[in-house]
């Protein structure tokens, strides 16, 4: 009987969790006039007009492509830089390792707002303003430390004897690392990639500041259109729904490793 009650409570919670998202979906299937005209729990006259507008208007759909590009770049960069570093932290003792690890983490915890102005200056100086590279690079600030943190957790779960055996067998470090070690922690790599994707995808402040038109991502387009169009709720909702889709798809692939990943590989 007790388990029954728990399950009901959990279902109620999930209902509450889904409700705001459902409401946005509901709005996205109605026209603005319809939304402001009357209150309805579900779209009585569903229309895809908002979605069609987004998929046919280049300022909207290129914004999605821009976001995908820099998120992809950031994920690859973060993994490439974090993998060797995480290996070093999980296997070796070296001068300043504790301090280095903590310093890296402080960047994950630094208020992005602090870096706003210097970034404008820095990226203008090196001519990267309004490029995908600028945003990808800026997101490395928090994603590389996070990736190192998670990967280090996963790597520490692999016994060191494996490394020792491989080195005795005459493997060079790069060959061992790529052909033996990375496949061993592939779940960890997948989870880390998911986290890099996620934090780059949801970030607004840097993405908005470092782009003007060429690389403007969807999150920035949404904030800028709020005032310009005089609040087209239907369109805004449709754009919002579309930003959830990639995340939802990615979750599905890592669902079995999610919990461990959120615990930074430490359970």
């Amino acid at each position: 009987m007790k388990i029954q009650k728990r399950t009901i409570a959990l279902c109620v919670y999930f209902g509450v969790l889904i409700l705001p998202i459902y409401w946005m979906l509901n709005m996205s299937l109605r026209t603005n006039a319809d939304i402001l005209g009357y209150f309805a729990l579900y779209p009585k006259d569903p229309t895809f007009a908002n979605y069609i507008k987004i998929f046919t208007d280049p300022t909207w759909y290129t914004a999605y492509i821009n976001a995908m590009i820099y998120v992809g770049m950031n994920t690859v960069m973060s993994l490439a830089f974090a993998l060797p570093a995480a290996y070093a932290f999980s296997r070796y003792k070296f001068i300043g390792d504790g301090q280095m690890f903590f310093w890296l983490l402080t960047n994950r915890m630094a208020p992005p707002a602090v870096f706003l102005l210097p970034y404008l200056q820095l990226y203008s100086t090196i001519n990267l303003m309004d490029t995908h590279m600028a945003v990808a690079l800026a997101h490395c600030l928090f994603n590389v430390p996070l990736a190192i943190w998670i990967l280090e957790g996963f790597m520490s779960g692999i016994p060191k004897e494996i490394d020792e055996t491989a080195f005795i067998d005459g493997y060079s470090f790069p060959r061992f690392f790529i052909t033996i070690f990375i496949p061993l922690i592939r779940a960890g790599v997948g989870v880390t990639a998911f986290f890099c994707f996620m934090f780059s995808w949801v970030e607004l402040l840097f993405a908005r500041t470092l782009t003007i038109t060429e690389a403007k991502p969807i999150v920035a387009t949404m904030t800028r259109t709020i005032s310009a169009t005089g609040l087209d709720w239907g369109l805004l909702a449709a754009a919002g729904v579309l930003t959830i889709v990639p995340g939802g798809l990615v979750i599905w692939f890592v669902r079995n490793h999610l919990a461990k990943g959120f615990a930074l590989g430490r359970v």
């Binding site: 570093a85 280095m100 999610l258």
Partner: protein, 293 residues
């Protein structure tokens, strides 16, 4: 696990160090540079020493924002941690329900932060929102619900949004901790006739200590840095009642363009965060040690 002493490991860390330093140290130096000068225009700057720091430390709007920030982050922890644990305890342990629960839980976490704001505007608006219309149709409130109307409504909306957004993270962490407890512990508890409450208090809670420390650390930090959601939802209003540190800082830097004070503020802000990070980081290390012993 005993680690190999080898300083050559630095070569493996170096690339990561360089890329993070490029985004982390160079800009920070610029901030330091701003904070001790009065900048009139390109190439026109006067050294002012610690003047901006003194000004910001005495700035009552900063004090207010800081106080609000502590209130907000404190409330967030008080609500999210217990709620997250409860959800984790209620989640199924095997079968298709596990995957389904995990996917639903993770969904709010992959929504862009300003879209979270948008979702909650649409959800709570008194004219088109389910929540806004719903609560007003009950006719319980003296002033009709509208998050732009009264500070208390803005706070409730923001807290509801924050709890909605991030409790799943705590739940996922707690769930990971719970799943890692060997079944034998529960069998032993059953044999001893321990109540559910005793099992929770003496087995589950201590075993979750590690992941809960991570949860507290992440939630404290991230709620301390919160920007996009209140920016999208309330814009810091009504008045300044939901102006948290980041929002105030961005206002100061990009709207009023007070570079010097904004930079000094940045450094003070960063220092506060750093202090807490260090305390939590130490706690985290100690948790790891305690489990091994």
């Amino acid at each position: 696990m005993e680690k190999w002493p080898n300083n050559k490991a630095w070569f493996l860390v170096l690339p990561a160090f360089i890329i993070v330093a490029f985004s982390g140290i160079i800009p920070l130096m610029t901030v330091v540079n701003y904070s001790i000068q009065d900048i009139f225009g390109p190439g026109e700057a006067v050294f002012v020493g610690t003047e901006w720091f003194k000004e910001m430390l005495g700035n009552h709007r900063l004090h207010d924002a800081l106080w609000r920030q502590f209130m907000f982050s404190g409330l967030v922890l008080l609500i999210e941690i217990p709620l997250g644990i409860l959800i984790a305890l209620a989640m199924p342990k095997r079968g298709w329900g596990v995957s389904a629960s995990l996917v639903i839980l993770a969904l709010p976490l992959v929504i862009p932060w300003n879209v979270i704001g948008t979702i909650w505007i649409i959800f709570t608006r008194p004219d088109i929102g389910l929540f806004g219309v719903g609560i007003n149709s009950l006719d319980l409130l003296e002033v009709p619900f509208d998050h732009t109307a009264k500070p208390i409504y803005a706070w409730i909306t923001l807290l509801a949004m924050e709890v909605w957004h991030w409790t799943p993270l705590v739940a996922l962490l707690a769930y990971a901790g719970l799943r890692a407890i060997p079944e034998a512990y529960f069998q032993a508890a059953k044999i001893d006739g321990a109540s559910a409450w005793a099992t929770f208090l003496y087995i589950q809670l201590p075993k979750m200590r590690g992941v809960l420390t991570i949860a507290v650390l992440l939630r404290w930090m991230d709620s301390f840095l919160i920007y996009a959601e209140p920016f999208a939802l309330t814009g810091g209003g009504p008045g300044n009642t939901t102006t948290f540190l980041s929002i105030y800082l961005v206002k100061l830097a990009t709207m009023q363009f007070d570079l010097g004070p904004a930079a000094a503020f940045s450094l003070i802000y960063f220092l506060i965060v750093l202090l807490f990070s260090f305390a939590f980081y130490q706690a985290l290390l100690n948790v790891g040690r305690g489990e091994k012993a």
